[in-house]
C-alpha cells in the first residue's frame, strides 16, 4: 500500500507508550463502540507506479483533440511555457491562504499584481483576489447589488446558460427574484428590458460578447439599468478586453468574468478563476479576499489581506457571502500569463482571435453553413444549416477536430482563437462542404 507516514510502526508504538497508551484502540477508546467502522470497503492501497498507471489508463480513455473550434465558456488559447514553470513552484502550490503576512509576501504581492491587472483590463477601480469561476462571480455580483427595497435581478437570456443556471441557483438560496430578459435576433431585447425594470430592480446582468458571440449595445443597456436606479453588471471575456470597450467605459458598476482564457487549461472545466471588479463605491460590498498595500514596522512596503471586516469569519451571519478563499494559484497563473503577453502580446492575441474567427465564418459560409446573425462579433459566431449539427460534428470528429458547440439540430456555435491556423480552418471547411454538399 502507498503511505506518506514517516514514522515506523515501532516509533508509533513508542510514541503511544510515551503518552500513556498501549495501542491505537486505547487512544481511540473514548469513541462510542456503536459508531466505529468495522470494515472500510475500499481496494487495497496501490504503489505510486500502480496508481499512476491507473490514472494514465483513465486519461487515455479521453479523446484529446488536436484541433478545437469549441468555446461556449471554455477557450483554447496558447499557454506560454513560463506559466507552467512559475506556477508549479512548490512554495506557491503548497502554501495556505496568506494569513501570516510576514512569510507570505510572495503570494500577497502576486495577488496585488493580479488585482492591478484586472483593474487595467476592465478599467474598474478595484478588483478582489478572485472567486471560484466566472459563473459564481456573476452570481456573487448579483448578490452584491441586493438592497432592502431592490430585490429583483434582471439577467439577459443571451448569457452563457451555465452562468444563468448558477445565478438562478444562488438566487434560489438568497431569495432574490430573477427575471430573464428575452433575446431578440441574438441580442438582448432592450425594449423589453426597459419595460420590465422599475423601483424594485436591483441589477441587470449582461454578457459581453454574449453567448452567441455577438457584441451587445452596452451603452444603451447600461443606461436603461441606471435609469431604473439599478446596478449594471457586465460579464466579460477578459481576452476581448484588450480590444473592446471596457466595462468601465460602458459605465458598469461591477465587472466579472472567467479568467480561464488567460493561461488556464481547458481541464474538463476546472480549476478556472472568476474575476470581480467594481467601482470604488461598491468596494465594501465586494465579497472575497482583497489584498492591500501597507508598511511593516520598519516602514518597508508590504502587502496584507485587508478590509476583512466584510468577511464571514468576522461578520458571520451578517456577511453577504460565505467565500473565504480565492483561486490564488489561478490568480498567479493569470498574473504570469499577462506579464508574459504584455499589452502588445495580449492585443495581438485578441486581434488574431477576431481575424481568424471572421475567416472561419467566411469559409464555413462558402461550405454551406450560413451565419445566423449579422452583428459584430469577437471570436464566436453561430451558423445555421439544414444538415443536422450532429452529422457535421461527427464528420469533423473523425478527423480529430472538435467542431463548434451544437445549440440544437440546426445551429452550431463556433469559436476560433490564435491557435487555429488557416490550414486547419480550410480543412474544417472542406469537411463541412463534403457533408453539406
Amino acid at each position: 500500500m502507498g503511505s506518506f507516514l514517516p514514522n515506523s510502526e515501532q516509533e508509533q508504538l513508542q510514541m503511544l507508550n510515551e503518552i500513556g497508551f498501549n495501542s491505537f484502540e486505547e487512544l481511540f477508546g473514548h469513541i462510542p463502540e456503536q459508531v466505529l467502522l468495522k470494515n472500510l470497503n475500499l481496494a487495497e492501497g496501490m504503489s505510486e507506479l500502480q496508481a499512476m498507471d491507473h490514472m494514465e489508463e483513465l486519461a487515455d480513455k479521453n479523446v484529446k483533440f488536436r484541433h478545437i473550434f469549441r468555446g461556449a465558456g471554455a477557450y483554447n488559447h496558447y499557454i506560454p511555457a513560463i506559466v507552467g514553470s512559475v506556477v508549479n513552484k512548490e512554495q506557491f502550490v503548497t502554501a495556505y491562504t496568506p494569513y501570516q503576512a510576514e512569510i507570505s509576501q510572495g503570494i500577497l504581492q502576486s495577488i496585488f499584481e493580479y488585482q492591478t491587472m484586472i483593474c487595467e483590463l476592465t478599467g474598474m477601480d478595484t478588483s478582489n483576489a478572485s472567486v471560484y469561476d466566472g459563473s459564481t462571480a456573476a452570481a456573487e455580483a448579483v448578490a452584491m447589488c441586493q438592497e432592502r427595497k431592490r430585490n429583483v435581478a434582471f439577467i439577459s437570456e443571451t448569457s452563457n446558460p451555465e452562468t444563468i443556471k448558477v445565478i438562478k441557483t444562488y438566487c434560489y438560496g438568497n431569495g432574490i427574484d430573477v427575471v430573464m430578459v428575452p433575446e431578440k435576433d441574438g441580442l438582448t431585447d432592450a425594449e423589453a428590458l426597459k419595460e420590465a425594470m422599475g423601483a424594485s430592480s436591483a441589477c441587470f446582468y449582461v454578457q459581453q460578447p454574449n453567448f452567441y458571440g455577438n457584441i451587445e449595445d452596452c451603452d444603451a443597456l447600461g443606461e436603461i439599468a441606471h435609469a431604473a436606479g439599478a446596478k449594471f453588471i457586465m460579464g466579460c471575456n477578459p481576452m476581448s478586453l484588450a480590444v473592446l470597450k471596457t466595462p468601465a467605459e460602458y459605465g458598469a458598476d461591477v465587472a466579472v468574468g472567467d479568467g480561464q482564457p488567460l493561461g488556464l487549461g481547458l481541464a474538463f472545466g476546472g480549476p478556472y478563476l472568476g474575476f470581480m471588479a467594481a467601482t470604488d463605491k461598491m468596494v465594501r460590498r465586494l465579497p472575497g479576499r482583497i489584498v492591500g498595500e501597507t508598511v511593516d514596522r520598519d516602514d518597508k512596503r508590504a502587502y496584507v489581506l485587508t478590509l476583512q471586516a466584510r468577511e464571514q469569519h468576522i461578520r458571520r451571519e451578517k456577511a453577504s457571502s460565505n467565500i473565504c478563499s480565492n483561486q490564488a494559484l489561478c490568480a498567479l497563473t493569470v498574473g504570469v500569463y499577462l506579464s508574459a503577453m504584455g499589452e502588445q502580446g495580449l492585443t495581438q492575441a485578441a486581434e488574431l482571435c477576431v481575424s481568424k474567427a471572421h475567416y472561419l465564418q467566411g469559409v464555413l459560409a462558402e461550405a454551406g453553413l450560413q451565419p445566423k446573425y449579422n452583428h459584430p462579433f469577437f471570436h464566436e459566431f453561430v451558423t445555421v444549416s439544414d444538415v443536422n449539427s450532429k452529422v457535421i460534428l461527427e464528420a469533423l470528429e473523425k478527423k480529430g477536430i472538435l467542431g463548434g458547440y451544437p445549440l440544437n439540430d440546426k445551429e452550431i456555435l463556433w469559436c476560433a482563437t490564435e491557435k487555429n491556423t488557416k490550414a486547419e480552418m480550410d480543412q474544417v471547411a472542406a469537411i463541412v462542404k463534403e457533408v453539406c454538399g
Partner: protein, 476 residues
C-alpha cells in the same frame, strides 16, 4: 521588493504570438480607449521576479505547518503528475460524452470511494471549496423541506464554537441562525440543543471532532434529537482527517456532508485555492444534487442531471483537476492507508499536546483528536504575551504558526494540527521550539512584541491598510 510593473521597460516583451495567416479584420464595434498597462518584461526578468516572490512564501515543503483546522499535510507529488496528464488537461468541458469516458470515470470512481469513506449514498464534486460545499449542502436541506411543503423550517442551529462560514452559509440560503452555547467540555450542550429544536428547525450544522479537537461522544443522541424534531443534520467535513476510515459521518446520523479535498485528501492549497468541496448525502437527498451525475448504461458513461436538481453551484464539473489529485491519493492509501492516516494524525496531536501541556495550558485537558487548542489567557494576563506574540515568534524558527484566535469560545487560542505526515523528529524539534519560546517569554516578555525579526518583512500595519485602502498599483 519591486512590483512586476516596476521592472523592465516599454518595448520589452516575450515573443509568443505568430503573424496573422488570414486577412486581418478590423472590428466594427466600440473599442477600448483607455490605454492598457500590462508589464513589459523579458522572459528572464519575468522568471526571476517570480522566483524572488517564491522565496517569500512558506509552503508545506518549507517546513512544519501545524495550522489548526486546515490539515496542512504533505502534498504527494504523484498527485500533481496525474493531474498534469494531457488526457485530463486538454479536454474541453463540453466535449461529447463518448470522448470523455476517462473524465467521467474519474468522477464516478472518486464519488464511490468518497461515499464509502463517509457512509453517504450520493455525492457531487461540483463545489469548489469547503464554504461552497456548505452552501450546496444547505441548498439540499432547503430543497428537501420545500419539496415536502414544510415551509415553516427557517432556522439553522449552529454551536457557538463553529467556523464563521457556517452561519454565513446559512444566511446565503435565507436561513436564520440559532447559536447554541457549548457545554463546559467544549461539546454540544444536549439540554440547550433540546430547547433549541422545534418545528422551525431546518437543520443543525456540526463538525465532529468539533472545532476544539474533541470527539463528541453524544453524537448519536445529538443527531436523533434533530431528526425527531424534523430537521436534518449537516456534517462540516473540516475535521474528517481525524476519523476517516475509523468513523463515518453517515453512521453517526448525518444526512448531508461536505469534504475538503484540499485538507483531508492531500491536494495542495495553492496559497488559498483552488480547492474542492464535494457534498455527499443520503439517498433521499440525491434527487436534489446540483450539476450532473455520472450514469452507466450498456458499458458507456454519460452525465445526467438528477431529477429535482437544485441547479448548478459552478459551471461544468467542479475543479476537476483537484478531483484527479484526490483520487490518486485515495487509490494509493486504500483500505489500510486511510485509517492509518487518521490514527497517526491523532497520535501526533496527542503526542505534541502531552509534551506541551505542563507549560501551555490546554483549553480542554482531555484526549484530543487530530488537533488541540492551547489557551494563553494566563500568559497574556501575567506577562502581557499574547497568542499572537507566540505565533509571531514561531515565524523566526521557520515554523508556520498554529491557527490564532479560533475557535471564538477560547480566549487567546492557538490551535495546533500537526497532521500524520510529520515525523517524530519534526514534532520533537517543534516541541523544543515551543518550550524555548515559553522560556524566552518569561525571561523577557517585552522582546516578544518585536517578533518576528528574521522574516522578509516584519509585523504589518494592518490599520493603515484598512483605513486608507491601496488595492492596486497606480501607473504614472
Amino acid at each position: 521588493m519591486k512590483l512586476i510593473f516596476e521592472r523592465g521597460k516599454e518595448g520589452q516583451a516575450c515573443t509568443l504570438m505568430p503573424a496573422c495567416d488570414v486577412p486581418q479584420v478590423t472590428l466594427a464595434a466600440p473599442k477600448r480607449e483607455k490605454k492598457l498597462h500590462l508589464p513589459h518584461v523579458s522572459e528572464n526578468e519575468l522568471s526571476r521576479h517570480y522566483t524572488e516572490l517564491g522565496k517569500q512564501v512558506h509552503g508545506v515543503n518549507d517546513g512544519f505547518y501545524p495550522l489548526g483546522s486546515c490539515t496542512m499535510k504533505y502534498n504527494p507529488k504523484v498527485n500533481e503528475k496525474a493531474a498534469a496528464l494531457p488526457g485530463f488537461t486538454n479536454v474541453h468541458p463540453l466535449q461529447p460524452a463518448h470522448t470523455v469516458q476517462g473524465c467521467i470515470e474519474v468522477l464516478k470512481q472518486t464519488q464511490e470511494m468518497l461515499c464509502e469513506i463517509t457512509g453517504m449514498d450520493a455525492m457531487t464534486l461540483q463545489p469548489a471549496a469547503g464554504a461552497h460545499g456548505e452552501f450546496t449542502g444547505l441548498l439540499l436541506i432547503k430543497s428537501y423541506h420545500e419539496s415536502r411543503g414544510d415551509v415553516k423550517r427557517t432556522k439553522i442551529i449552529v454551536p457557538d464554537s463553529a467556523h464563521g462560514t457556517n452561519p454565513a452559509s446559512a444566511t446565503m440560503v435565507g436561513y436564520d441562525i440559532v447559536n447554541i452555547p457549548s457545554a463546559a467540555d467544549g461539546c454540544v450542550d444536549i439540554e440547550k440543543l433540546r430547547e433549541a429544536v422545534g418545528e422551525d428547525t431546518a437543520g443543525l450544522m456540526l463538525t465532529n471532532p468539533n472545532t476544539v479537537g474533541i470527539f463528541d461522544k453524544n453524537i448519536l443522541e445529538i443527531t436523533s434529537i434533530v431528526h425527531e424534531a424534523g430537521g436534518l443534520v449537516y456534517y462540516d467535513g473540516a475535521n474528517l482527517n481525524a476519523v476517516m476510515g475509523v468513523v463515518r459521518p453517515g453512521d453517526m446520523g448525518f444526512d448531508v456532508i461536505h469534504l475538503n479535498l484540499h485538507k483531508t485528501f492531500s491536494t495542495p492549497h495553492g496559497g488559498g485555492g483552488p480547492g474542492s468541496g464535494p457534498v455527499g448525502c443520503k439517498s433521499f437527498l440525491a434527487q436534489f444534487l446540483p450539476g450532473l451525475q455520472p450514469v452507466e448504461k450498456d458499458g458507456a458513461l454519460s452525465l445526467v442531471a438528477p431529477e429535482n436538481s437544485v441547479g448548478s453551484v459552478k459551471a461544468f464539473h467542479g475543479n476537476f483537476l483537484v478531483v484527479v489529485k484526490a483520487m490518486t491519493y485515495i487509490l494509493m492509501l486504500g483500505k489500510e492507508g486511510i485509517p492509518a492516516a487518521a490514527k497517526n494524525a491523532v497520535l501526533n496531536a496527542n503526542y505534541m499536546m502531552n509534551k506541551l501541556k505542563d507549560i501551555y495550558p490546554m483549553a480542554y485537558d482531555t484526549v484530543c483528536m487530530h488537533e488541540f487548542v492551547m489557551c494563553l489567557e494566563k500568559m497574556k494576563h501575567d506577562i502581557d504575551v499574547s497568542a499572537m506574540d507566540v505565533a509571531k515568534a514561531l515565524l523566526d524558527y521557520g515554523i508556520h504558526p498554529p491557527t490564532m484566535y479560533f475557535p471564538l469560545i477560547v480566549h487567546e487560542a492557538l490551535m495546533v494540527e500537526p497532521t500524520e505526515t510529520e515525523s517524530k523528529e519534526t514534532l520533537d524539534e517543534a516541541i523544543a521550539v515551543f518550550r524555548k519560546i515559553y522560556e524566552d517569554a518569561q525571561a523577557n516578555p517585552a522582546a516578544m512584541h518585536e517578533c518576528p525579526v528574521h522574516t522578509p518583512v516584519r509585523r504589518l500595519d494592518e490599520v493603515r491598510a484598512a483605513r486608507k485602502p491601496v488595492l492596486r498599483y497606480t501607473f504614472e
